[in-house]
Symmetry: D2
C-alpha cells in the first residue's frame, strides 16, 4: 500500500479562511495528510491551531526554520509544504522550503511583485523541484471539459473571451482579518483586486482557451475612499491568435458573491461557465443549438470525468475543485504526469499580468470626452 | 370618446423585421391606429405591404412626398409618422415629415452620422414638434423600476455600471435582408454593432442611472473577415459623478440571442436586470440581502406599475415594452407629460457616443504588451 | 383587402382583469377589431367601459339582447362574440349568441357545471357555429413545439406527465373583484381552484401529449378557513395509453405567481416547459443530452415558428400566446383550418375533469394512516 | 489533542458508488479516520478495496465477524461502523456491530422490511448505543436554515408541502452494479424507487417542517417492463397539523438527474429549496416579497452557519452535506449533542412510510373514470 504524502502548512492559523480549506482539499482524496505546520510565529498560537487541525502538538511550529530542521530529522517528516500566508510571505517561504529540498504548493498570486516572481522562478528552475500555484478554479471538472472542447476545436478558432470576477465584500470599509491584509500594499503587494481575483480570471482565460494574452489595456480604480490599492478593474485583452477579450474584476459590486464566469466564442460555437453553478457547462453551436452539459454525465471527456467524485445531479463545488489541484500535485510528487496543474510558469505569467495592468492603467491614455 | 391617433409608417415593407413590430406596438393599447404608409419606393410592393397590414390600399404610398401630400388633404389624415427604415433614411424622412408639420417617432440610432444628428436636432428645435427615438428597452416596466429606485437613492451614490449587449447572429457571413444593410456603411452609417445595439446599451446605462457618460475609452473591432464595420465592441465609461463603467456589445458571440443586461452598483446596494428575463429585477443590499422584484407585483413604484398590463407571473416582453414607448408618445401628442420617453436629445447623445467610440478606438492608444 | 373581423365583448367592464387582455389579444395581429360590447348591465357603467376601450359609445350596450338586436341590423355589425364574464354567465351568453347566429370564443371553464356543458355542446353541435375556449397556454409557441415533438415521437411512448399550476394570490382572505367571484359557488360553479386553473393544467397535459386522461384520483381541499370552494388540488392521472400522471394546482402557495409548468417523459426523452419563462423548451434524451430550445430559433417546427412574432431573445409572453388563439379563431371564421384551437370538445372534457375531480375527492377513499 | 475517531466500513468495495463517498464525508472534517473495513466477502477483493482506500491491508477483512474479533483486540481498534451495503444487509450488520458494542451509522433505508426495522429499533434501544441513518440531504446548510425558519414560525402555520425527487437513470433497462441490486427485491427489500429515494423525500419533508405525516394515499407503479419493484411513485400526504402534502419520486423521468426539491407554504410565507442548487434558499412572504438566501451569508441562523465551510459564493455540495452528518455523529460519540442527526426513530418512520405507501397503492382505491 502506498502511504499518504505528508504535508506541512505555512500559514493558516486560527481565523484563517484559506488554511482550513487547503487542509481539507489536500486530504480529501486520501493522497495527502497534513502532519505539521507553521501556523503562527507565536508558539502558543501555532500550537492552538495545530490542535484545531488535530495534529501532533509537537509538530505545530512557531517558525519555518524550526519546522524544516525538526521535520528533516524525522523518518516520517513532511514531504512538501503548502504556503497559505499573505502574498508578501510567498517568496521567503518558498525559497526556504525549496532550499530544504521540499516541493511547494503556494497560494496565488505567486509573489508580491514581478521582480520577486522572477527570483522565485529562477530558484525553482535551479532546484528542479515541483512547484504549483493554487489556481483553484482550473480544478473544476467543467473547466477541464471547457478546455478540452476548445482544444479539440469544438468552437473553431477562438475569437472572443469575456471573463468576469465580480465580488462585493469590499464595497464597504474593509474589516476583519481577511480584508485587512488584502488592502495593505505591504502584505498584498502590487495589486489589490487585480492581484486577489483578477489574476484568477486571467489564469482561467488562458487555461480554458489554451491561448496567451499578448496585449492589454487596463482601467484599474480605487472606489472606496482612502483605500491604497485597486478595488475595481476592467481590462481589454488581445490574445496571441488575435482574439479579442475583456476581463472584469471588482470587489465593490454590492451583492455579488464570488461570481467568476467565463464565456468563450469561436467561429463555430460558444461556451459559458459560471463558478457559482459549477456543474453545468453551456455549449452553443453556430446552427442555433444550445446544450447543457452536466458534471458527471456521459457527455464528458476523460479529464473532466476523472475530476468528478459523484454521479450527475450531486453537486460538487469549490472544495472538490481545490482537491483536484492537490490530487494533481500528489500525482506529480509520485512521478505521474499532471500537465494541467498550474506551475511556476503560470504563476509568473500572473504576476506579469498584474504588473502590466497596473502600469497600463496609470496614465489613462486613450480616453476621450463625450459631449453632445 | 377620444379617437385614436393616426399613424403613417415610413419603411416596414414585406420582409421587414421591425416594421410589423412598430405597427403592433403602436396599436397595442388602442391609442394609435396605423392608417397609411410608405412601405416601399415601388408602388406594387408598397401596396402589397399595405395589404399585409390590412390598411386601405390607396393609403399605401410609393413615396413620402405622396403620402404627405395626400394625407395632408384628408380630414382623417395621418397625425404623425413612424420611421423604421435603415439608418441613412432617418434624416431625410424626419426632415420631410417635420417640415410637413408632423411629429416623428424614429428608430435608433438617430441618424447615420453625428453631423446629421446635429442637423436633425436643430430642425426639431426649430419646429418645436414632438420627436421620439425608439429605445425600446427603456420601455420595460422593470427598467422603469430600476431607474426609479436609483433615483430615490436606493443604491446610494452610483459607483459602477456594467452594461452588456451580446448577440451572435452576425457570427457568420451576414445574410438576409436584416443583416445586409447593417453591415453596409452606406446604409448603417458610422457604426456597425456599436450603432445597432451598442447605442441601446449606452442609452440604457444613462437611463437607469440618471447619469451622463463623461468620458470613454473604446476597443471596437471587426471580427468577421471582410466586414466593413465593427461587429464587436468594448468600451470603458466614466460617468459625470465619477462612477466607473463598462459597456460591451457584440454580434459575433455564437449562441447569444439578445442578451442585453445591466448591473448597477452603488454605495448601499446593487441591481441587476436582464432583457431575456425581463419581468424580474434583482436587488442587493449592503447587508447581504437579495430580493427578486416581480413585474406587476406589489413592490413596484407607480411608473413601473403603470407599464404592466397583466398580474405578476404573466410574462410581458419585448412587444409590450415597445408599446409602452408608443403609449408615451401618444400621451405627448395629446398634451400629457411623458418625461422618460427618449427624445431628440437622447438620440443626439447616442450619436455622439457612437462617434466618440469609433474615434477613440482608431489608434489603439494605451495598449501594452504582456510578456513574462 | 380583407377587412378585420368585428368582435363584440360580453363582460370586461371597468376593473375587469381579463376583458382588456382579451381585447388586446384579439386585436394584436390586426385580424380582429372590437367594435361593441356588453360591458355591464348598468347603462352608464357599460358606456364608461366603452370609452375606456375607445369604442363608439352607442355600441356599449347594457344587455346582450340589445347588442344582438342592434348589431344585427348594422351592415358593420359584430361577427362574433367574446365571452369574458364569470363562469355562471358562460352558458346563457353562449346560447343567446349562438341562437343569433354568432360564433363564440369563451373564457374557461366552459360553464359552471357539467350539465350546462353538455347543454352547450349540444347547442353548438346543432348550430354548427364555430366555438372556441380560451385555453391561453396552448397558444404559446413553445407549447406548440412541445406538442409537435411529442407527436412525431421524439420522446417515444409517453410514460409520465407532471403538470403543476401553483399560485399564491388566494392564500389570504379573498379580496377584490377578481377574487370575490372565484370563491363564490354561485358564480364560479362547481370548482374553485380546480375550475379556475386546474382545468388549464388538465388541458395543457392533454394538449401537449395528445393523450386523453382516462382515470383520476383526486385530493381537493379548502385551506383558507371559511372558503366554500377548493383552493388546493392534487390529482393522480392515468392516460389512455397507460401513462401515469400528476396534476397539482393551488392558489394558497404563498409566493407562487402563475407558475404553470409541465414535464413529459417518454421512453426516449423528456421535456420541460414553464409558463413564467415561456420562450425556452428544455429537451432531454436518454443518452444524457440536454438541449435548450429557444422561441424564434432555427430549431423550431413550422407550427411554433408561425406563432412567434420576433427573433430569438426578444421575449414574447402571455398576451402573445393569447393572441395566437384569437388568430386561430379568426382563421376559422375565414374558413381556414386551425385544428389545435381548443373548441367545444375541449371545453366539455375540462368540465368532465372538474366534475370527476370534485367527486373523486369527496369521500377520501384509499387513505391509510401512517404510524410507526 | 483529541484523536480522530476510528471507523470501520461494511460494504463499499471496488466499484461501489456510496462507499468512497462515505469515506470522504466521514474524514472531511478530521473528526474521523477510516482504519478498517469489510469491503467484500472475498479476501482478495476486500484487500484490493483496502488498498484503494490506502488503509492497512491487514485491516481489510473478508467478514464482519473477523473485523469485530480482530479490531476488538487492538488498542487502536475501530470505535464505530459505517454500513454501506445493499439494504438486505443493514439488519444483520447492524445487529452484529451493536452486539459487539459498536455504534452504527447506516445508509438508508433502515432495513429491507418494516419488521426488520422494528427488530433493529428494539436492539438499538436495548443496547443504548448511538445509531444514525444517512439521510444526507438533511445535512445541507440551507435545509437546516429552512427547518430553523419554519420552527420559529417564519411561515406561520404550515399548510402545504410539495416534495419531489425526480431521477431518470433507471428509465432504461437497469444495468451496472448500482442499478442491479436496487431493482432486486431480495436485496432492495420492499420498495424500489420509494425505498431508494422516496424515503429521502419523506424524511426531508418531516425534517424541514418539524411535522409528522399522519396519513397518506399512494400511487406506486412499475413503468419499465419486467421490473419487479416500483420505479415511479406519487403520494398524497396529510400532516399531523392537517397540512396537505404531495410527495413525488421517480427514477424513469428521462433527463432528471438528482432533482430533490421541497416547497413549504404556510399562512405567512413560503420557501423553496432545490438540491441541485443547494446554496440558495428562496423565501416568499405574504406581502409579495421574494428573497434569495445564500449559504455562508449573514442572513443565516447559527445551525446553518455552523454547517458551511466557505464564504458565500463558494459552492458547497453533496459531499459537504454528507460530511455534516458524520460531524454530527462524531459529536454524539464524543458526548456532545446533535439533536438533528437522523437516528433510529427516523429510520423506523421511513420504513413505516415505505410499507404504508406500498400497501396503500395496492388496490387502487378511489380511482374514477373520466369520460366526457
Amino acid at each position: 500500500m502506498q502511504s499518504r504524502l505528508r504535508m506541512g502548512m505555512i500559514g493558516g492559523g486560527v481565523g484563517s479562511f484559506i488554511g482550513p480549506i487547503h487542509r481539507l482539499a489536500a486530504e480529501m482524496d486520501r493522497e495527502i495528510e497534513m502532519v505539521a505546520g507553521v501556523f503562527s510565529s507565536d508558539s502558543l498560537r501555532s500550537r492552538n491551531a495545530g490542535e484545531m487541525y488535530r495534529i501532533d502538538p509537537l509538530r505545530a511550529y512557531p517558525s519555518l526554520d524550526e519546522m524544516l530542521a525538526s521535520e528533516g530529522k524525522r523518518d516520517d517528516g513532511i514531504q512538501f509544504v503548502s504556503i497559505v500566508t499573505p502574498n508578501h510571505n510567498h517568496l521567503p517561504s518558498s525559497l526556504a522550503a525549496l532550499s530544504a529540498g521540499l516541493p511547494v504548493i503556494c497560494d496565488k498570486p505567486l509573489t508580491a511583485t514581478l521582480a520577486e516572481a522572477h527570483e522565485l522562478a529562477e530558484t525553482v528552475a535551479a532546484t528542479g523541484l515541483p512547484f504549483a500555484v493554487a489556481h483553484t478554479y482550473s480544478g473544476y471538472a467543467m473547466v477541464r471539459e471547457a478546455r478540452a472542447r476548445v482544444a479539440v476545436g469544438a468552437l473553431g478558432n477562438v475569437r472572443k473571451v469575456v471573463v468576469e470576477y465580480p465580488q462585493g465584500w469590499l464595497a464597504g470599509e474593509a474589516c476583519g482579518k481577511q480584508a485587512d491584509w488584502r488592502v495593505d500594499p505591504a502584505r498584498a503587494g502590487l495589486g489589490g483586486c487585480i492581484g486577489d481575483i483578477g489574476v484568477h480570471a486571467f489564469q482561467l482565460a488562458e487555461f480554458v482557451t489554451g491561448l496567451e494574452v499578448a496585449e492589454l489595456l487596463a482601467d484599474l480604480g480605487t472606489v472606496v475612499p482612502g483605500r491604497l490599492l485597486d478595488d475595481d478593474c476592467s481590462v481589454f485583452l488581445r490574445f496571441s491568435n488575435g482574439a479579442r477579450g475583456v476581463l472584469l474584476a471588482s470587489q465593490i459590486e454590492v451583492g455579488e458573491l464570488n461570481g467568476l464566469r467565463i464565456r468563450v466564442y469561436g467561429e463555430k460555437g460558444g461556451l459559458v461557465w459560471k463558478q457559482e453553478v459549477p456543474n453545468i457547462l453551456t455549449f452553443h453551436t453556430l446552427d442555433g443549438r444550445t446544450e447543457m452539459i452536466h458534471a458527471g454525465g456521459s457527455q464528458l471527456g476523460p479529464d473532466a470525468m476523472a475530476r468528478t467524485r459523484t454521479p450527475p445531479g450531486h453537486p460538487e463545488g469549490y472544495l472538490e475543485a481545490f482537491a483536484n489541484l492537490y490530487r494533481d500535485f500528489a500525482a506529480i510528487l509520485r512521478g505521474q504526469p499532471a500537465p494541467l496543474l498550474p506551475g511556476i510558469a503560470t504563476g509568473l505569467r500572473g504576476m506579469a499580468f498584474i504588473a502590466a495592468a497596473v502600469a497600463a492603467s496609470r496614465d489613462r491614455p486613450g480616453w476621450v470626452s463625450l459631449t453632445v
